[in-house]
Structures are given as structure tokens and as C-alpha cells.
Amino acid sequence: MAKPKVAFYWCASCGGCEEAVVDLAEDILKVVEAVDIVLWPVALDFKYKDIEAMPDKSILVSFINGAIRNSEQEHIAKLLRQKSQLIVAFGACAHLGGIPGLANVANRKEIFETAYKLTHTTVNPKEIFPQLVTEIPQGKLTLPEFYDTVKSLDQTIEVDYYLPGCAPPPDLIMKGVQTLLSGNLPPKGTVIASEKALCETCPRNKTKPDKMVIKEIKRIHEVIADPEKCFLAEGIICVGPATRGGCGERCINANMPCRGCFGPTKEVIDQGAKFLSALASIIDANTDEEVQKITESIIDPIGLFYMYSLPTSILRRKQGV
């Protein structure tokens, strides 16, 4: 019997998800043995036209990482949807919009101005910006269209499963791949990770006081965090209470607070609003002056509460830009 066909594709992402696949180490041989890879731009040389020539639904599963930020990514995501039986949103950017999704605090014009004109290291006296089509003597050169708004994968195509994380941990990837190849499929839309919040399995949970009160917010670089104690109890913002568990607490074990890359738990739509609610509740401030003072000390709520999930939040982007 022919081996099932699998595709890996990257959209707006950093390459960390590809790295996570490579980090499967010898387990990757098991994957390669079990499947026939038909597309993996970062590692292997296939052409888009090869995929276009394939019959519809002939790929068992396509793993797509990265957010949708330009027309090429949208096109390939749609093409893979057409050719695949299953689509897995691989990693935080495909799942929630991820770090590239924070670009939704600006628009294309502002991003181009910054990137091609305003930064100190940019020298661009003719103010040349990327063009969709450029005519040169040899012919026409084209670039994909850069969109105003970053979207998650499921805002562009139908997605069957989600492998969360920035990047997904190798054991979770292996579990996901094995589940899909086994044919024993979970319900559509499943996020392949824990159903509970990170705090449930956090090794510091036992030091969490019964009544948590924060008098002052400390940023992680301002203090030397105690490697045993609950970050929030110390006044260091940790998004664990509003984040799905299953990551293996890699950041926590490296003495870094959670930033929420696994996204919200199943019942929650808006991770940032949920965390905002939880954080406000444990702040010890009763008078308006106290509330005002501590609220002002929370720098950049969007970046903090929606570090990985702005495009899938209720508001999706900054308004009026």
C-alpha cells in the first residue's frame, strides 16, 4: 500500500516550527518512514506546480505553520486545503495568529513606512517600497500582496486540528502525527494538548498562596525571580491561569513566566480579556487612586495579554489604523 502523503508548509512564521520538527531527532526517521512527504519548502525541493497537479484530497494531512499575512500564503493555504483530507494548524501563529499577529496594532502603510523608511539603518532616498509588479528589461517581476491585517489559518481556510505552541514541543508533535496516522481521529476542531490551564500542572503551583494579592507589578527583567515560587504571587505577570497546559512547562522550568503561546482553554474565546480579568482580581487596590496607580504600571496590555492571540481575539486588531 502506498504511504500516506504529508505536506509541511510555512506562512508568516519564524521557522521555529520547522526547527521543532527537526528537533524530533531520531523520531523524525519514524515519520519519514511512515509517510511520503510531498511538500516541505524549508527542507526539500518541491515545486508548487507539483502540488497543483495532484488530485484533490490526495494528501492525507497538511501541517501548516505561520499566520496568513500575504497573498502567496493565502493561495498555498487554499491550495493545500483543496488537495488535503486534513489540515493541521501547526504552532501558535497558525492557531491564533501568533507573534506576527501583533502587527495588527498597525496597518500595511505604517509597517512599510517603518521598515523601508524610518528605521535608523534604512537608507532609501528614493523611497522605494515593495511593488506587486516591477518591470525590468528581462520581463516582469512580481511579489505577493502584503495584507493590512494578519489572520490565523482558520480565518482563511477550514482547519481540522490544532497543534499549539511556539513552537509545539516535539513530544506533542509526535503524539499528533501518530494520532493522525492511526486513523483514530479526535473530533474536528480539537486542540491537541491539555484541556486544563497551565497552572494545573505548573511545578510552582504548590507555592501558590491561598489568597493571592499583588501590591505591585514587577517586570521580569527588573527582578531575580525565585525559581521555586509562583510568579504571580511575586507580582510578576505570568499568563498561565489563562493558558492551555500541555507544553511541558518549558518556560517555567527555565525561570521565565508563561506568555500564553498555547492559547486559551476550550471554554474561553478571548485569552487576553480572560487574563485581564484574572490579573485585576488579584491586584490589592481598593481606592480609585490605588487602582489607577497599579493600572498605569502595567505596560503595553496588548503585547502582554495578546502576545500570541491578537488576530483571534474578539476585537482582532487595533481599530482606526
Partner: protein
């Protein structure tokens, strides 16, 4: 741009024990106030998830009114203190998100303050009229 006949749509989240009762009192006292508010009764203003406010704005509400008990009067002891902190932080987030924070108003109105309720809603409707329609409002 601004429609002269613009009637703001305001979603009101009110606690059962104080502000909702104040709205009832305003009603039975036949106090006049604009009909722009759609009241939603909560057991406590502390039960208001910040995501409800975001959802209301995203769905096109021009303003969101939140009413709770005065400090010290909460039926659940501290619910309104929680609301106060959450809404302060939410307003900061809204500003960063490019939404005018004046579209969200938090007031403490007791069950005896029907007059204050009617007056507050009147004032809020006037303010939202000045701000104009919520820019997130989808074209009908």
C-alpha cells in the same frame, strides 16, 4: 458623516441588587430617561467578564454601561471592588486598541437612587451622541 438622527445603542450590565433595582425604581417612579439602553441583569457587577464588554463593542454597541453597588454595599461583599479594577484595566486596553474609553461607563448606583440612574443614562446617551456611532459598527 454624523447622522443627526443618530440614536446610540447602549448595552447595560447591571447588578440585580443595586443598579437594576434602581432602574426598576426609575420605572415605577415614572422618571423620564432615553430608551437607548438595553439592560442585562447580572447577579453582581463582579460577574461581568471583560470579554462581554469587548463582544458588545465588536457587535456594534455604541456604548456599554456597567452599574453596581456602592463600595461597601456589595451583596457578595467585594464584587464591585473587582469590577472597579477590571474596568480600569479594560479601559486602558481599549485605549491601546484604538477605542475611545468614554464608550464604557462604570457607575455605582444603589437601589434607592432611581433619580441618579435616570440622570446617568441621560448623560451617557448625550455623551455617546457626541462621540458618534461606534466605528466598529457593521454597515447595515
Amino acid at each position: 458623516m454624523m447622522n443627526e438622527n443618530f440614536e446610540p445603542k447602549i448595552v447595560g450590565f447591571m447588578c440585580k441588587w443595586c443598579t437594576y433595582a434602581a432602574a426598576d425604581l426609575a420605572g415605577v417612579s415614572r422618571l423620564q430617561y432615553p430608551p437607548n439602553i438595553v439592560p442585562i441583569r447580572l447577579m453582581c457587577s463582579g460577574g461581568l467578564e471583560p470579554s462581554y464588554v469587548l463582544k458588545a463593542l465588536q457587535e456594534g454597541a455604541d456604548g456599554v454601561f456597567i452599574g453596581g453597588c456602592h463600595f461597601g454595599d456589595c451583596h457578595y461583599q467585594t464584587g464591585n471592588y473587582q469590577t472597579n479594577k477590571r474596568i480600569a484595566l479594560l479601559k486602558k486596553l481599549l485605549e491601546e486598541m484604538g477605542i475611545d474609553k468614554r464608550r464604557v461607563r462604570l457607575e455605582w448606583i444603589s437601589a434607592a437612587e432611581g433619580v441618579k440612574f435616570a440622570h446617568t443614562i441621560k448623560e451617557f446617551v448625550e455623551e455617546i451622541k457626541k462621540l458618534g456611532p461606534n466605528p466598529l459598527k457593521k454597515e447595515a
